[in-house]
Symmetry: C2
Subunit: 218 residues, 2 copies
């Protein structure tokens, strides 16, 4: 049963959905998920409003699908390439570097998609907010887990709180993203890089072994 039948009809529908979402993520990264209007999207894609909404059922479903599509792009652009780096501090830096490139290269025209729409729905309960909160938690959780891995291989001090360190790092990234968009300049990404470097240097294990419980240096 369900022998991966490639029904040409649903196949066409899937393709349409992909095309729509490709445009939707770009629009939403600038105008937000509320400003993402059916009519405008339909016009830009040269299709009918009814055809477009018919592919998703309702605007909220379109919004949720847009979030999933943006997440997939984020994973492909930031996470997967960074996971090629070896476990430890290298992988952590790879994630951070990939994120900075993702933001400064304007993978989405409005900067980080999730920063834009996250703030849009942060104060409004509902399915959209929940979905965005989940993605945000995934991202911070990934950073924290990567920090923990680096601790296990001894590249980050064991007494560092992984969640705290993840909080700091993500904060630098988000701040750079916003300020770059606001000012139009890119210098602030260097601020973020220097902040990351300093924070990771502080979290690095002491090179000269500190005095053990008994028998200490002169």
């Amino acid at each position: 049963m369900s022998e991966t039948t490639t029904d040409g009809r649903v196949q066409r529908g899937d393709r349409t959905r992909r095309v729509i979402l490709g445009k939707a993520v770009d629009v939403a990264s600038v105008e937000g998920l509320e400003g993402l209007s059916i009519g405008r999207l339909a016009t830009e894609l040269s299709m009918s409003k009814s055809g477009l909404i018919g592919a998703f059922g309702s605007k909220e479903q379109l919004q949720l699908a847009t979030i999933r599509a943006a997440r997939a792009i984020f994973v492909r652009t930031v996470v997967e390439p960074a996971l090629l780096a070896p476990v430890g501090i290298d992988r952590l830096r790879a994630l951070i570097d990939a994120w900075l490139a993702y933001s400064s290269d304007r993978r989405f025209p409005g900067g980080c998609f999730f920063a834009r729409v996250g703030h849009e729905y942060a104060g409004r309960p509902g399915a959209v907010r929940d979905a965005l909160a989940a993605v945000d938690q995934e991202w911070i959780g990934l950073i924290a887990a990567t920090v923990a891995e680096a601790q296990q291989v001894g590249e980050i001090r064991a007494d560092e709180d992984a969640d705290l360190l993840a909080f700091d790092l993500v904060a630098y990234l988000d701040s750079a993203n916003l300020r770059s968009l606001l000012t139009g300049g890119f210098d602030v990404y260097d601020h973020a890089r220097r902040a990351v470097d300093a924070r990771l240097a502080a979290a690095a294990p002491e090179l000269r072994a500190d005095p053990s419980p008994d028998g200490s240096p002169a």
Copy 2:
């Protein structure tokens, strides 16, 4: 000329404008400056749409006035109380503490007004974006200037880059604001506090003076 005549008519207009803006900042902190609709605002204030828009001329003027009103509230809530603290690290901490209270107490129902609408317009050139960028720069500049003052009184190491330190601190605050709204919890403010403490501890001058070029304390 212009002997501070208190014209009852413009006085009434000013009062109306104040009432409108009082509601506008609250609405905009949740729905954004775009979602701030004339009709809804008029309904909530039991006045006519035409009367409301007539008080400002256009929606963009209303938006700009709303930003100025939010800035005034921010100055009164965060900046002015903190400026009572003595120059130096105390004043810096007072600013940070006041900001955390301003955010976690939900002085605006949607959290920090400027985080919400800053992201909304960060990617869209125009007068609104420029106004928001200016306020943001004011705030970061104030933090940086306060850091510089603390350096002059010897409470922060002179080799710290004031702009860099300000960037880090503001990043912690913004991150806590967003994540608190997204999750509905307030634990993340403790993360921010611990991040601030650690960052300021790292920026504090060494207690045991290192050997200075000539004649220094034993």
